[in-house]
Symmetry: C2
Subunit: 348 residues, 2 copies
Amino acid sequence: MSLDDLGERGRRASRERSADRAGAKPTLKTIAELTGLAVTTVSRALADAPQIALETRMRVRQVAEEIGYMPDRAAQRLRTGRTNVISLVLDPHEEILGYATSIIDGLSEALRGTPYHLVITPHFSDTPAIDPVRHIMRNRMADGIIFTRTEPADERVKLLVEHDFPFICHGRTELATAHPYVDYDNYAFAYHAARRLIASGATKLSIILPPDRFTFAQHMRHGFMTAVREEGVRFEIAKDVTLDSKSDAIRDYVYKQMAQADRPDGFVCGGEVSAMAVMASAYDHDLELGRDVHLVAKQTSGLFDQVRPRVETIYEDLSEAGLLMGRLLLKRIGGPVPVGELQALQTL
Amino acid sequence: MSLDDLGERGRRASRERSADRAGAKPTLKTIAELTGLAVTTVSRALADAPQIALETRMRVRQVAEEIGYMPDRAAQRLRTGRTNVISLVLDPHEEILGYATSIIDGLSEALRGTPYHLVITPHFSDTPAIDPVRHIMRNRMADGIIFTRTEPADERVKLLVEHDFPFICHGRTELATAHPYVDYDNYAFAYHAARRLIASGATKLSIILPPDRFTFAQHMRHGFMTAVREEGVRFEIAKDVTLDSKSDAIRDYVYKQMAQADRPDGFVCGGEVSAMAVMASAYDHDLELGRDVHLVAKQTSGLFDQVRPRVETIYEDLSEAGLLMGRLLLKRIGGPVPVGELQALQTL
DNA sequence: CTGGCGATTTATAACGATATAAACGTTGCC
DNA sequence: GGCAACGTTTATATCGTTATAAATCGCCAG
């Protein structure tokens, strides 16, 4: 409290006796005056440079601690070019419940205790996804970038790899050059979801995929199709509706399906909203879940623990994904690392 | 593309002809060389200072535009002390679905087109809530602070008011000094929710409140109690369970209530998770929603549009709250504003 | 006594921006 | 012609830090 107090008393006192305690923010100069050393020496001492006598280093650190010295980020950044910032590029309008929150949770945990700050760089969907990335690189707004919704031939990945700029993306690409990523095994998700439905007695499966442009849409499709072919059951894949569609549009689509004579009786739901839409449709058509209609949903929050009738789910830990992305990115920023060590696939 | 391209070709070219185009990041110096003016003049010209000839200002701006000049934030920050940063203090572990996401959405919109960046400052619940605020102030990590979960005698508010540091909090206090805030009318929410339940035929109401230490818990309680007293119905207020409790704990609590002979038949749900818990409990006790049990929930996402049976809801627009907080904070940072103009109450 | 070496410390400059005060060329007036 | 005043531009210093090169010291060998 005492040292952090910037109140009137402290400020006045500091005007009287130069600037030894409290009052103005302490800088290297403050420590230099206090110890009788040069600013340069203090800087090097705090950096633990071996050329500075051990005793000096300890004394400086002691004083720095006492007066609560914290380096000025702006000055460090100007001088070194390092920002101590991690930029998370987000389309803040995404409706996916809590997706961002969970990732931010994990990222915060990874950055805890480091000098790194988390900056949210919004990407508004009316501009190319590469714009914010280019801007961050060009103006050195961050030491590393994290982004989501990766595409098979993602331009952002290409750009970042080309310039050797530290980054981790959520999701993989199909590019020839390996690059850092954290991904969830959506192939396995869709595969196992479909098999579970079939095992429950479903004879015609349905799936709503993410927009085609995202890599994980292909993974889900592939997992789904593999299971379907293995078992030889019929299926339907939504054409004009995706997991990104408004929830009403999703529900309308499922409504139409339910009204068919040949309606699907097993649904793979890649998102919580779409799962709720399927449940709503079933309910409105007087179809009983678990008997007339089966459902396996991806669960990313505690929501489904409270949903009745109970829904079969497969869990994706987004908070852990954030944690991983943070850790890997810090590792990469720390120095060159084989790209293989910067890739993580979350399994079921 | 051409100017943003930092590739090998550009870099080599710039080495040849000093640094006129592409290559290294353009600075005031670059513009100065290009125009034959002094760095100072360029700076003032871009600041649109009236002492600089209009023609010069236009020429400088033209050149700056052409080479894609963007001021270096670190340098500006070091020199002026302004950070161009807004800090959002968040407990990233909060389970409230998408609460943070919605607010970030609104904030991003408010900050769009301004030079301000949004930094997420995590507040881990094992440390005092005032720590991150003090740290931000002391080290001038931001020009303004936004935080949530305001308490009646909030220490953060006191500190910030005392030092006249720009901030907006989500929620009000009961402090004597007025301060900026954005809040949702939780009194009205609880009041109307309760009245609706009674109008639907409920004879014993139940409510789960936020933790007592938050101001909005008192508001909700007050609204609830007012309605209950006006109508003279019986009621129950959860003692050991709050909206912050794990969703399982909430469900267990509601389970016990449902098992009572004298069970409540009307539930005011201040959160989406607690609403789902009530629904789950009702379902598990074979109670029919809308007949045996009534429910009015606060809706903060599109989720309840897909929940069946349909649930009565009252909407709280968190994205708008974020937008308001951003706008008001920018206004405050811009210069002294009567505190009354920095307060907003979102009504139903 | 001088030169030189190793161990420490320090002076200087620079990062890119801006606030301050000084300098500049032009004009008009006495 | 000299000088003040004006409109405009520029030199200088500074924010806090760190990389580089230089300086200082004690000490020992020659």
